[in-house]
Symmetry: C2
Subunit: 241 residues, 2 copies
C-alpha cells in the first residue's frame, strides 16, 4: 500500500487534530488556517478542516494548486471548492470528535466525493488507510446522513438529558439507567432494524401507563408534548410495518 | 454471606428466566404461574414475575404464606400484594431482558421496596448477591424511573429506527451510524449529564441547516414535527442552563 502521499491539513479543531493523528503514516502537516504558513501547494492532498462557513474563504486563499483540495464537512456542498484547473472533493468522517478522547479510527465511516473518478479514488484510498468503512456519497447523500445523525445522536442525547433531569428530581444519578441504555444500543445494533426491537408502553398500546405518565409530567408541558408525539409516532410505525 | 435462603420464582417469561439464573447460588425453584405446582409456601421468598395485570390474581392464589411475597414490576404498586399477616415487597430489576441474550447481572440496578424495614433488608440482601447497584425505591420513585426509561430507551430506540428508515431510502445500512451512536453513549455516560455534551444544529442555533433539514423532510410531516419539537426543546434547555 502506497503511503508516500504528502497531505496538508488546514485547521486546528477537533476533526483536524484527529485526522492528523489518524493519517500519521503519511507525510502529513497541520497548517494554521489563518496564516496558511507552510502550506505546500504541491502536496498531493490539502484537507480543509475548518468551520462550515469558513471553508469557502480558506479555499479561495489556497488559490491555484496541484493538490486535490477536500473539505471534511457533512453539510457543505462539494461546489464551494470549485476553481479552474483544480481537483477537489469531500473527505467526511461521520463521528462526534472530542479533542482529548481517543477513538478507534478503523470504525469511523468515511463518506467520499470527488469531482472526477480519479480524484474520488485517491481520496477513498487515503480514507481506506484509516478506516474499514469507506463509502462514496454525493452532497445529497451526505445531507441525508447528516439528518439521520441528528435524529440518532443529537436528539437521542437530548432525551438522555431529559431522563437525567427526571431522575435528578428524585435524587437518582444518570448511572442508574446507563446499563439499560447500553443494552438498548446492543439490541438495536444486533437487530439492524431498531423498529423490530421496539419495546415500551406505546408499542404495547398500554393506554393506562401512558396516561399515568402524562399526568405525572403535568409540571412539564414540553415533555408531555414530546411524550405524546413520540408515542404516536411509535404506534404509527408499528401499524405501517 | 448467607446464601441458604430458599426462593420460589413464579413465572416463565424473560425476567423470571433471567432471575432464576442470576439467583442460582440460592436454593431456587421456578414455578408455573398457572398451576403453582410445587410452590413452597414455607420458602423464604416468593417472587412473582408475571405480566403486570396478572400479579394481583397470582398473589391471591398464593394466599396465606410465611414467605416474603415480592413482584418484579416497575409500574405496579406494592399494595397489590397486601394480605393480612403477609410480608411483601418489590424486587424490580431495571433492564430490557431478552430470553436468549446473556447479561452481566452485576450491572443491573435493582429497586427494592418492602412493607417494613426488615422485609426491605432481606430483599436488598438478595439483590446484593446479584448486583452491585441496589437502591431503595417506593412506588412513586419506581414510576419516575419508568418514565425516565421510556424517554431514554423506548423513545431513543424509535429515533434510531427513524434514522435507519432515512438511511435505507439512500441504500445505506444502519451500521453506518452505529459508531456515532456508540460514541454518543460514551460521551453522555462520561459526562454524567447529557445536556452538557449536547451537539448539533439546534444547540448551535444553526438556522440554515435546520431549515434545510426541515425542507428535506417535506415528505414526512411526522418527522418534521418531531424535528421541530426536539430542536425547540434542545434550545430551551440550553437557555435555562
Amino acid at each position: 500500500m502506497a503511503k508516500n502521499k504528502h497531505i496538508n491539513i488546514i485547521g486546528r479543531g477537533n476533526v483536524a487534530t484527529h485526522l492528523y493523528k489518524a493519517l500519521s503514516d503519511f507525510e502529513v502537516n497541520m497548517i494554521n488556517p489563518h496564516t496558511l504558513d507552510g502550506l505546500d501547494r504541491n502536496a498531493d492532498v490539502i484537507i480543509i478542516s475548518v468551520k462550515d462557513d469558513a471553508i469557502s474563504e480558506v479555499s479561495d486563499r489556497i488559490g491555484s494548486t496541484n493538490a486535490i483540495v477536500a473539505h471534511t464537512s457533512g453539510s457543505t456542498s462539494i461546489d464551494v471548492l470549485q476553481m479552474e484547473d483544480r481537483k477537489y472533493g469531500v473527505f467526511y468522517p461521520l463521528q462526534t470528535f472530542s479533542k482529548n478522547i481517543e477513538l478507534d479510527y478503523t470504525k469511523i465511516p468515511f463518506f467520499i466525493e470527488g469531482v472526477d473518478i480519479k480524484t474520488e479514488c485517491i481520496l477513498k484510498e487515503i480514507a481506506g488507510h484509516i478506516s474499514n468503512h469507506v463509502y462514496t456519497a454525493d452532497s445529497h447523500k451526505r445531507k441525508i446522513i447528516h439528518i439521520a445523525s441528528v435524529f440518532s445522536c443529537n436528539f437521542v442525547n437530548h432525551l438522555w438529558g431529559v431522563a437525567n433531569e427526571i431522575l435528578q428530581e428524585e435524587g437518582l444519578p444518570f448511572s442508574v439507567i446507563t446499563p439499560l441504555i447500553e443494552e438498548s444500543v446492543r439490541k438495536a445494533e444486533v437487530s439492524g432494524n431498531p423498529y423490530s426491537v421496539q419495546t415500551g408502553p406505546a408499542i404495547r398500546n398500554d393506554i393506562n401507563i401512558m396516561s399515568t405518565h402524562l399526568s405525572m409530567l403535568d409540571k412539564y408541558p414540553e415533555l408531555q408534548e414530546i411524550y405524546s408525539i413520540l408515542s404516536k409516532s411509535i404506534q404509527r410505525t408499528s401499524k405501517s410495518k
